[in-house]
């Protein structure tokens, strides 16, 4: 593969990202009109922004790789990634918006009136954010390595540096316009090459995957995904993805931009449509890969999307398509990583660092300095981890982050929005138990290597047992401690569930 094309695409994406960070605020907002205040962010634009931030390395590269190696079952990944928003729409979107919370710890504090829970949520947000950042950085290494042959640490470092520079300098601070354009960039980058490749495939007489072993690949519940017990693994995965989306810190902060609960719901519906459109394409690459690159070495499946054009179409065109895909993949790493870093750094700065820093330096630091320090911290840790930990596959890694989010924030958000009986102690117990179990399972999966049999299946896809346990803990402990139900629960519930335009005394 000729590296020049790919390098140009990646450099272009990085430069544009940095430039938007530096000048974007001015470019996107120069206006002296009156009535600018009436122009709140529309649900459509906000939904594009959520899509732009949400579609990560796992979506862009990982799904195709999974479909390539493990076959039909992996189609549940894109389904799960999208279903999460349906759950979010039905259960959480509007109450979350009406709570007035900006971050997850804010919601916990607003609903449970406890700073201890707030602190607990902050720690979890940082943990989940790091777990989710890890595959972004690994993916960047993979992508750059495939395109240019650079060692894997370079790509991750580039993304880390660009993100830190951007976020710490104050650029890219969740500029909705920029993030919504990102969605369309990513969609174009994956869709256009897909159509060209499909055209080439039809031109070749639409060959099917070579027979023999492929029969298993095309069957449902084929058990190719490793530990066996495919039925359990599939359901557990669906639970993790469906219930974990609501616990992703960088997605939730976007809901604050909606003017009210109704707009929050409308945004979520649009997100489902946008994601549905995007997820049509990654499986195409997986299937075409089976046809044209049947012998890809295991462990490099995540690079399939980038290799495929070179194998299918003649030099010039293939190189260009590869470059477009590499650029799109980098856009995915950068936007997701920026969103995550913003959220993680915000929480580290506000809840964990600021007071301590104030104490240590005798308040001899500015707010901006604290935030910059938090930004560096929030990228360095996952980058170091990405160097130390053997890659277990982008989509697998991301699904583990979803599992932790689903076992902790899902009970908090769902019970918090819909059950008056949730007590402070119960919520804390649910978070600690669910988070502890899921984190242990994740750690064992990452560090101990493949575990055979049921234990391996249970640890590799923990959501199916950690989520119910976490819910049960929260409910039982709450029932046992009715004295610790927050004092203003009734008032908070009224606020969470009444439409804003209803004239009602909410105090």
């Amino acid at each position: 593969m000729n590296p020049a094309y790919g390098v140009v695409a990646i450099v272009l994406v990085c430069t544009v990202t940095l430039a938007i960070g530096a000048f974007g605020l001015r470019l996107s907002r120069t206006t002296s009109d009156f009535y600018v205040a009436g122009r709140t962010v529309t649900p459509y634009r906000n939904a594009s922004a959520i899509g732009g931030e949400y579609l990560s390395a796992a979506s862009f590269l990982g799904i195709a790789g999974l479909v390539y190696t493990n076959g039909l079952d992996m189609l549940w990944f894109p389904v799960g990634y999208t279903v999460g928003y349906v759950v979010l729409l039905v259960l959480v979107a509007a109450p979350l918006r009406r709570s007035g919370a900006y971050t997850l710890p804010d919601f916990a504090e607003a609903r449970l009136e406890s700073t201890v829970i707030r602190r607990l949520c902050s720690v979890l947000v940082v943990g989940i954010g790091w777990l989710y950042l890890l595959p972004q950085l690994q993916g960047a290494g993979l992508a750059l390595g495939t395109v240019t042959g650079a060692p894997t640490w370079v790509g991750g470092l580039i993304v880390a540096v660009v993100v830190v520079a951007n976020v710490a300098a104050g650029g890219m601070r969740s500029i909705t316009l920029v993030q919504s354009v990102q969605y369309w960039v990513k969609l174009t980058a994956i869709a256009v090459p897909a159509f060209v490749l499909l055209g080439a495939w039809v031109g070749d007489g639409a060959p099917g995957p070579a027979a023999a072993q492929e029969t298993k690949w095309i069957e449902p519940l084929n058990g190719l995904a490793g530990q066996g017990h495919p039925v359990y693994a599939t359901y557990s995965l669906l639970l993790a993805l469906g219930l974990g989306t609501m616990g992703l810190p960088h997605v939730l902060v976007r809901f604050y931009t909606n003017p009210d609960g109704r707009a929050a719901r409308r945004t979520t519906v649009t997100v489902v449509a946008l994601l549905g459109a995007f997820y049509l394409f990654p499986p195409v690459y997986g299937v075409l890969g089976r046809v044209y690159l049947p012998d890809l070495a295991s462990g490099t499946a995540d690079t399939l999307v980038l290799r495929l054009p070179g194998a299918m179409v003649p030099d010039q065109l293939g190189e260009t398509l590869s470059a477009v895909l590499a650029g799109g993949a980098f856009a995915a790493f950068l936007s997701t990583a920026s969103g995550l870093t913003m959220s993680v750094a915000g929480v580290i700065d506000q809840d964990l660092l600021r007071r301590r820093l104030g104490r240590m330096t005798g308040d001899d630091f500015t707010v901006a300095q604290g935030f910059r320090l938090a930004t560096v911290l929030s990228v360095i840790v996952p980058y170091a981890a990405s160097r130390l930990i053997e890659p277990v596959g982008l989509a697998t890694m991301v699904s583990l982050a979803f599992a932790v989010a689903a076992s902790t924030f899902c009970p908090l958000l769902v019970l918090g929005s819909w059950w008056r009986g949730l007590s402070t102690v119960g919520a804390a117990a649910g978070l600690v138990v669910g988070g502890g179990l899921a984190a242990t399972a994740v750690a064992l999966t990452i560090f101990a290597g493949p575990i055979p049999g049921w234990p391996g299946a249970l640890l590799g896809q923990p959501a199916a047992w950690t989520i119910p346990i976490s819910f049960a803990t929260a409910v039982l402990v709450s029932l046992a401690t009715p004295g610790r139900i927050p004092r203003h629960t009734a008032r908070t519930m009224v606020r969470l569930h009444t439409p804003e335009d209803l004239a009602l005394d909410r105090n």
């Binding site: 907002r29 009109d33 600018v36 971050t103 053997e390």
Partner: protein, 400 residues
């Protein structure tokens, strides 16, 4: 490196990190312990102060049922008695400790103290109990007096009412009175803030009303349509500025009102007043104190431009800074003396600029001292007023 993960090495690294942490903790602990020999008396004092601070936290809302119930445990620890009861005119507020069956008698015991305001001691004869093991044999009841009024009675139950217990009960009751007074003070401060908000509302300056109406009048003949539009703006403006109810609103609402205000001012100043707005749409849903920006803009127009020859420029920006929104109002007018602004922000308002001081005070009251106004100005150099608002603050909700 892409690959080999060596488990023993990882365990070693994790282990040594843990060890390092433990060492640091130990050294720190050692340092704090070596600050000096702590005598038993000192230790007792510290323990008492700590217990008192724990109790104080629950009493910060005054002697409410909920707060006293939580504080009772710590009060009992302070007194070292078997049980404590806190009663007010309405009956029992809280009971903590052994022998719950006496809780019902407590209001009866406290009756006399609440009436006379004098400490009393009731001994075995007056506190009856059929249970021979019951630790409640006598009680000391002391009044909690604030502003010459007995607001509650603190009862300490124990096997025998020693002089020490009586003394301690009186002291703790006195301490509770101080806490109640502090809480009262807090309530009063809130009421004062509310009154100030009302004052600010009433203070939507009469000049502005005269000037607007005069400007509108000048259009009635020449441009009746415009006059009608302006009159409607004026109606909307006054409806917002004089509304009753909520203390908070959204930034979008507040800015809409600022725009109405500016339309009216532009009718008067014409081309002399130029305005630019730079608003990040992401921060429009942020909750801000009602009438937090309009007084700053009015200030910019009145003090920045009205006294200056030629035209002037007012710019309003609101930008998104992660968990906070930053709002800036800037003019290129005559500026003012920083010292004068300082006295205004310190609360020594001099009539004309009361808006600035009030907005500053309200922001600090709601969000804490980190969130006051920042004013940059010098004579002849214009004025820039900046403040930050957190996107979320506990208990802050917009009402429309």
């Amino acid at each position: 490196m892409s690959g080999s993960f060596h488990l023993p090495t990882a365990i070693l690294v994790a282990g040594s990190l843990g060890l390092l942490y433990a060492l640091v903790r130990l050294v720190r602990h050692g340092r704090s312990a070596s600050r000096g020999f702590v005598s038993e008396v000192d230790q007792a004092t510290h323990a008492t102060l700590h217990t008192a601070s724990l109790a104080a936290r629950h009493l910060q809302d005054g002697l409410t049922e909920d707060g006293t119930a939580r504080a009772a445990k710590h009060l009992r620890e302070l007194l070292g008695s078997s049980a404590v009861a806190i009663c007010d005119g309405g009956g029992l507020l809280a009971w903590d400790g052994a022998a719950d069956h006496h809780a019902a008698d407590a209001p009866g015991h406290a009756q006399e103290v609440l009436r006379t305001g004098r400490t009393i001691v009731l001994r075995a004869g007056q506190v009856q109990c059929p249970d021979p093991d019951c630790p409640v044999r006598s009680v000391v009841i002391a009044p909690v007096v604030t502003d010459d009024r007995v607001v509650a009675a603190l009862a300490a139950y124990g096997p025998n009412a020693s002089a020490g217990l009586a003394r301690a009960t009186e002291e703790v009751a006195g301490w509770m009175a101080t806490q109640a007074e502090l809480a009262d003070l807090g309530h009063q401060r809130t009421r004062t803030m509310e009154a100030e908000l009302r004052a600010l509302r009433a203070q939507i300056s009469p000049h502005f009303i005269y000037n607007s109406l005069a400007a509108i009048a000048s259009f009635v003949r020449t441009d009746p349509d415009r006059a009608r539009d302006l009159l409607l703006e004026f109606a909307d403006f006054t409806r917002y500025a004089l509304r009753r109810g909520g203390v908070f609103t959204t930034l979008a609402e507040e800015l809409r009102n600022v725009e109405r205000y500016l339309v009216l001012e532009q009718a008067r100043f014409g081309d002399r007043l130029q305005i630019s707005l730079l608003i990040a749409p992401e921060v429009l849903p942020v909750t801000v104190p009602y009438l937090a920006i309009q007084p700053l803009v009015e200030n910019a127009v009145r003090h920045g431009l009205a006294t200056k020859e030629g035209g002037g420029h007012v710019s309003i920006t609101a930008s998104d800074e992660g968990a906070e929104a930053v709002i800036t109002v800037e003019d290129d007018g005559v500026g003012s003396d920083p010292a004068a602004i300082r006295t205004i922000l310190d609360g020594h308002a001099d009539g004309d600029n009361v808006g600035l001081g009030n907005v500053d005070a309200r922001l600090r009251q709601v969000y804490g001292d980190d969130f006051g106004l920042v004013v940059e100005t010098a004579p002849g150099a214009g004025t820039r007023v900046t403040f930050r608002v957190p996107k979320y603050a506990p208990g802050v909700h917009a009402t429309t």
